[in-house]
């Protein structure tokens, strides 16, 4: 069994409410942190090795130490609860069941960064979670952990929940800031980075929900102890939201000592492929990261067991690896069509492009069109190369990484499943009535299933 430090108390009845949370050790991290100098709290987080849980994996302590501190200018902490990456639903779980864990982490981080007004930007569809968070904030205010002169330190802090209104792009940190200022979610050109010029042109840190929640066990255990959990540079625990064709979809906390095979097939986690089917492919870190066929998912190209760590999931780079990303783990069984699935993701990115850069705006539209042709038996062999060409022209040529995020899934699908795309061209009628199924690339799986 892996170690848990975030969801270890999730099963306790009533843990959503302040009294129960407090009785179970809640807010000890705030009490500890507020006795320390803010700079020392940042040091603890640095020592923990915590990496951002929003997708990019940037070291959190380092990000905090980049925050500019000009005299007389307010600084802001913004919690990114936009969670819109397909396959990802872990932040929702945390906020729904352990709202005080997030609030506690936010108070510690606000102290460390000197933020007196801290915002949680939450996707608009999570309307009922707004109520849960606002209740938790009211309780924390009542208990004196928020508001004026917290615990007699002279530190004032208030947390506000801001609802978005349906736009994946608002998860990108500069688009999020624009949205919080009451504008369209158009990403800004960087630099300047938010650490220098963010919300209202003031220094700002944007962190993911899970990142901020992890600050609580870091304070409680101490950075060094926290860093002992996990493997190598993948310190601590990670929440994985597992979905698709598995027996037990849900949110799991792993300490990154698990292999991918164990994660998919053991009863403690996904519980194997649903309906007795075989594993075909998986997108291990949210829709933007490369899809891997079963053989490359379970073992790296070097033939080593693939582990659920940042490093191992990325082993082999894009040619033979993928990424931890946001932890959105999407599993496809043998009956699924990779072309169709890729089309659905391409449609998503076309829908969510903000339209500022032409490679992204036009490219996502073209990719959707060509994939539609291929899926419905109207494609030609040259379309596959055209598709490859278009995704290459988007990657790296845009203001924000949504362009890359749209390009990578298409690239990986063609790279690993070209024969399936070609089959759609050579068998246009058959492709309308049945799926390609498993091919040679799934062979090693016989072992894993049996």
């Amino acid at each position: 069994m892996g170690r848990k430090v975030l969801l270890d108390k999730a099963h306790i009845e009533g843990i959503r409410y302040y009294d129960v949370y407090r009785k179970n050790g809640g807010y000890a991290a705030v009490e500890k942190a507020l006795k320390m100098a803010p700079g020392d709290v940042v040091e603890e987080v640095k020592k923990s090795g915590l990496r951002g849980r929003g997708g990019a994996g940037f070291p959190t302590g380092m990000k905090w130490s980049f925050l500019a501190k000009p005299e007389g200018v307010p600084r802001y902490l913004v919690c990114n609860a936009d969670e819109s990456e397909p396959g990802t639903f872990k932040d929702r779980y945390l906020m729904e069941f352990l709202p005080h864990l997030l609030i506690e982490g936010l108070i510690v981080a606000s102290w460390a960064l000197g933020s007196n007004r801290t915002y949680i930007y939450i996707r608009g569809e999570y309307a009922w979670i707004v109520d849960i968070l606002e209740q938790a904030i009211a309780e924390a205010n009542q208990a004196g952990f928020l508001g004026k002169n917290i615990l007699g330190t002279g530190f004032d802090c208030q947390i506000y929940v801001q609802r978005g209104a349906g736009a994946y792009i608002c998860g990108e940190e500069t688009a999020l800031i624009e949205s919080l200022e009451g504008k369209r979610g158009n990403p800004r050109i960087k630099p300047p980075f938010p650490a220098i010029k963010g919300l209202y042109d003031c220094p700002t840190v944007v962190n993911n929900v899970e990142t901020l929640a992890a600050v609580v066990p870091i304070m409680n255990l101490g950075g060094e102890e926290y860093a002992k959990i996990g493997v190598g540079k993948s310190t601590g625990t990670k929440l994985i939201s597992a979905c698709g064709n598995i027996n037990k979809p849900g949110v799991y906390e792993i300490d990154m000592t698990q292999s991918v095979e164990e994660f998919i097939f053991s009863d403690e986690y996904c519980g194997g492929i649903a309906n007795g089917k075989r594993l075909k492919a998986c997108i291990p870190g949210g829709s933007s990261v490369p899809i891997l066929p079963a053989n490359l998912l379970l073992k790296t190209a070097k033939g080593e067991q693939r582990m659920m760590t940042y490093e191992s999931l990325a082993d082999g780079g894009f040619p033979t690896g993928s990424m931890m990303g946001s932890g959105g783990f999407i599993v496809l069984d043998e009956d699924q069509c990779v072309v169709r699935h890729t089309l659905s993701l391409a449609r998503f990115y076309r829908h969510e492009s903000c339209g500022q850069c032409s490679p992204c705006r036009e490219g996502t539209g073209w990719m959707e069109k060509i994939l539609t042709k291929l899926e419905y038996g109207k494609g030609q062999m040259s379309d596959i190369d055209l598709l490859w060409d278009i995704q290459r022209k988007i990657e790296g040529n845009t203001i924000c990484p949504l362009g890359d995020a749209a390009a990578w899934p298409v690239a990986a699908a063609i790279r690993h499943f070209r024969d399936e795309f070609e089959w759609h061209v050579t068998h246009p009628e058959e492709a309308q009535v049945r799926n390609f199924g498993l091919a040679h690339y799934a062979d090693p799986l016989e072992v894993a299933v049996g």
Binding site: T88, F89, R123, A165, Y168, I330
Partner: protein, 165 residues
């Protein structure tokens, strides 16, 4: 449409969350309030009213309202079914759920039933992929959808509507 006293007070509360002079930040939350108060959509008049409340130009409201997918730019049915169609939901049969709702209500995607009761929309991932297939109905999620569950939901909507009439 004008806001009730309660809503006007709520608007003031929201504005107070931001620093002095940054009341434009209240735009997205206030548009949510306005949409609720206006039968689920934003007419030009409503958007102009919001602009007045926040002392910003109407164009600033229009450009935001049209950017975000949760704002409806035309009148919709009493119940809005927003079915997720993205990859993970598709893997668990969202195509079939969408087809079933279309057939059962005899409408296409983006259309409203002639009695003004139901509108069907498809949406992209709503963060419920592990509970797929799913749809959003108003403030809540309906998850693990099956044909039977869709029947039930439609039935409940109809009887609720009958009760309220």
């Amino acid at each position: 449409m004008v806001f009730s006293e309660d809503k006007l007070q709520k608007v003031q509360e929201i504005i107070a969350r931001y620093p002095e002079g940054k009341q434009k930040s209240a735009l997205i939350p206030v548009l949510h309030l306005a949409q609720e108060a206006n039968n689920g959509w934003l007419s030009p008049e409503v958007m102009d009213y919001v602009a007045g409340l926040l002392s910003i130009k109407p164009i600033e409201v229009y450009e935001v309202a049209t950017f975000y997918s949760m704002y409806n730019m035309k009148l919709i049915g009493k119940y809005l079914f927003e079915v997720c169609q993205t990859g993970p939901c598709m893997l668990r049969g969202s195509d079939d759920i969408i087809a079933y709702i279309k057939e059962k209500l005899a409408i296409g995607v983006g259309e409203t039933t002639t009695d003004g009761m139901f509108t069907l929309k498809t949406v992209e991932c709503l963060g419920a992929c592990g509970y797929a297939p799913m749809m959003q109905m108003g403030k809540f999620y309906k998850e693990h959808l099956t044909r039977e569950k869709v029947d039930q939901i439609i039935e409940e909507c109809r009887s609720n509507a009958a009760l309220n009439n």
